[in-house]
Structures are given as C-alpha cells and as structure tokens.
C-alpha cells in the first residue's frame, strides 16, 4: 500500500508546483489583503475573486498536534505527528511535524516549513521544530 496522494486540480496547481520547487504558496486577496488556505476561487474573508499567489515565509506555530500511534495504513509507519500549524501569514493548515521527538512538541511550539517527496511528482509541505520549538 502506498501513501495517500493529493488529487490535484487546475486551481491548486500553483500550490503543488511551489511545493516541488521548495516554496509554500498561499493565496492572498488583493481586495482585503488577507491570506487564505486551502486555495479557493473566492476569498474566505471578503468573498472577492481577486486572488493572487504569494510565497509564504514558512514560519508557523503549533495550534494543536497528536502523535498517531496506530498508523492509517502500512504506508504510514507509526508513530508520526499530525499537527495543525498556524502560518505567520494567518492561515491554518494540517501537516506532519517531522524528525521530532514527540515529547518535544507542544501547543505553541514554533516550526518552519520543509518539503517531503511523497511520490515522483508530488512533494508535501511538512514542518520541523525550530530551536526546540521556543521563540528565541
């Protein structure tokens, strides 16, 4: 069994191309200035359709997390960490925190984006703890 691959769409192509190139792309609304995730055809803050792609700085904090002790399938060897990350630009996204001792992860820990090859064609943004998760 292989890892679950995202069914990409035309709208989300810039996001996935960004991941492959090592950049986390977000939509920003040129009408209200807010960022959003996941990508949509309209702004989730003001409803405008005037969206542009920007590169996120890649910094975030852990809004919540769990250590999955029983993996979803053989392709996901447990334990692994599933987290909700609040990006510096505002939006929240789900991701994995990689290469971290579970005991070192906490709500409020600071993280930075990295990219992990999920298949030949797809890379996924994942996060690593920065300086043990504490803002220096």
């Amino acid at each position: 069994m292989s890892r679950i691959l995202p069914p990409t769409t035309a709208l989300t192509q810039p996001y996935w191309e960004g991941c492959k190139a090592g950049e986390l792309k977000l939509q920003r609304c040129t009408a209200c200035g807010e960022h959003q995730f996941y990508p949509r055809t309209l702004c989730s803050h003001c409803g405008a359709a005037t969206l542009e792609w920007i590169s996120a700085c890649g910094a975030g904090t852990v809004a919540s997390f769990t250590v999955v002790r029983r993996g979803i399938s053989d392709a996901y060897p447990a334990p692994y960490i599933v987290a909700l990350v609040d990006l510096a630009e505002g939006p929240r996204m789900m991701s994995n925190i990689v290469d971290a001792e579970p005991e070192r992860v906490f709500v409020g820990a600071t993280v930075a984006v990295d990219f992990s090859a999920w298949s030949e064609d797809v890379s996924l943004p994942v996060f690593r703890l920065t300086d043990n998760g504490v803002i220096s």
Binding site: T9, Y38, V67, V82, M93, M94, S95
Partner: protein, 390 residues
Amino acid sequence: MANKGLKGEVAIVGAADTAVGKLPGRTPAELCVEAAMAAMADAGIDKSQVDGLVTCNAMAQPMLYHAEAIAEYLQIFPRYCISVGAGGGTTFSIVHHAASAIVTGMADVILISMADSMRSGLTREQAMLVQSSTGHPQFEQPYGPTVPAYYALIAQAHMAQYGTTESQFAEIAVAARAWAARNPAAQMREPITVEDVLASRMIADPLHLLDCSLVSDGGSAIIMTSAERARDFPHDPVYLLGAGEGHSHEHISQAHDLTTSAARESGARAYAMAGVGPGDLDLAQLYDCFTPTVLVELEDLGFCDKGEGGAFAESGALRPGGSLPVNTHGGLLSHCHPGNPGSMFALTESVWQLRHTAGERQVADAELALVHAQGGIMSSHTTLILGRDR
C-alpha cells in the same frame, strides 16, 4: 428568530434496536429491515401504514439509492422517501426534517431505520480508511490522520487552553461503562476505572483505546407521527419539543475554534423552541465517538461553563445516580457504534427512558431528555429535546 413551529406537533410512537456487536453473515440491509419491522411491531402497525421512509447509507454496503432499495426490499411504496448522510449527526438532523414533513402533510407515518456492519462487513483497514476519508483529500488525508487523530487535535487544544487532563477524559468512558453494565443489550458491560482507561494502549495522544468508541454491527429504527394520531398507539408517545442545528466547518483544519463547537448554536436553537434550559433536563444523550467530544458538548450545551467540562465529568455527574445522567444505554463508547446509525440508539434509549421502561438503568421520573449528535469532526451538530408531555 426562534422557531416554535415544531414544538409538540410530532411524536415518536415506535422504537426498536437489533442485537448489536458482532453479527457476521448479516448484511446492513437485512439489519435495517429487521429494525424497521421491530419498530413497526412496537408501534402496533403494519407496513402498509407507513407512508414515509428515511434511511442512511451503509459504509459496508453502499447503495446509490439506499432508501429506495430498502422500500423495495420491504415492498412499501412511500410518498416520502430519502436517504441522509450527515455523519454522526445524520440521525437527529433527519428527525426534524421528518417532523416537518408530517406537519406539512407530506407523510403521516414515517419510519426511520438505519443500520451498518462496520465490524463484520469491513476489514479494520477498510473501516479506518473509509472513515478518515472525511478529511480533505488534498490538504489533510495525505498526512495520514486517522479519525482518532482528528479528535485528538481537539483534545490536545482543550488541554492546552483549559488544563483539562487525560483522567478527566477517562472519567467519561468510565461513566459510559457504568451505564452499559446496567444494559443487557450493550456490547461492553465489564466495569472499568480511570486507571484502566489510562493503562489502555495509546491510539493518538492523548486518546487511549478506551477513550475511543466501539466498532459494531447493528440497526435501529423509530416510527414518527403527528401528536394527534400519537395517542392511538399502544405506548406513551414521546413528543419532539425542540430541534436545532449548527454548522461550522467540515474539515478540522478549517474550524474557526478547536475547543468551542456549533453545539452552542444547535443547543440554543433547540432550547428556544422547547422553551427550556439545560437545568430542566432529566438526562442527556451526548454523541461520544471519543471522550473529548462529550466534554466539549457538555460545555457548549450549557451543562457547565466553558473550560469546566473536565471538572464537571470528574465530579461523577454523568454516572448512574449523578446530577446529569449521560448516555444511559452506554453510548457509542460501551453500547455500540455501527457508524452513521450510531446515534439512533441514543434516540431509542431516550424513548424508553421517557416511557419509563428502561429497566435497571431507568432515570427516575424522567420527563425531559436532550439528545445531541454531531457529524464530521465536530462539524455538523443537531440537538433535539424530547418529552413525555407536549
């Protein structure tokens, strides 16, 4: 604006469950039909008197036109026929839709029957994958979240925000088991302690195995009709007094608040229709796919203040003899959980509690019950208030 339209207009006049647990060799459709026939027998009616049918799809036997297939199987020819899918909230949300259909004359006698075979009809891996597909296909599922993991994110956030402890979550499982011990139909009846829960295998931190609901086969059905007609049936009618929904998101990564749910809105709407508050209720059946679900619902439905759910559970309030009997059949944690039909059993249990026929687990003089279910990942909420009197 408060909607008073359905208060006391419709009643539940029949209720029945199949056996639950492990029922190999029985299809979900067969269980659905068995529950349906038993509910009609309980209501003292023949299938020819049913002119509305509601079902939900079965994960172990998906059908494109589920309600139509069950009607065909039963050889009934309803004028109101629909299959619903709102996750765990499916059962209760359809009750008020069915009530509206009765009030507006679209049907006179509605059968709601739901069943699935999550235990015997699917492998463990199939069951995990089909349930976790509630996650966003592009932006959540590739990271491998399991259903316990989604709820663990809520639990962890509640712990960080309010200091809630694993022991407080565990107490919710202990209370459910104490009720199940009084219910001969329950799948798991051996009493457990907080220590047992904490010593059980960690599934997704902070959720242990015993913080997670069961995986079961089973079916359950009710019969609804107008309050006027309800007096002609053999059992005491159980009236629908309040109903409300609340919807905040589908995917947990899109929730605007991890620790406060739309149960606040669904509860407020149901209380307003019924003209009652949390302090008026004799019992509450709260959706308990995982222990933190109950804790958040206790707070959002107003049984305690925000952040106080842990202390409230720890006080023993939910147990038999406690100040707020919760999940008197044992809930999804200890009675059974066959997937989307799961909260049907909270509904039939509420009917028996309000008929005063719940045996050893009867809540003395129960007059008013709240039943609450949610689907998705704390996404779609429905609260109903049921009573002995209109």
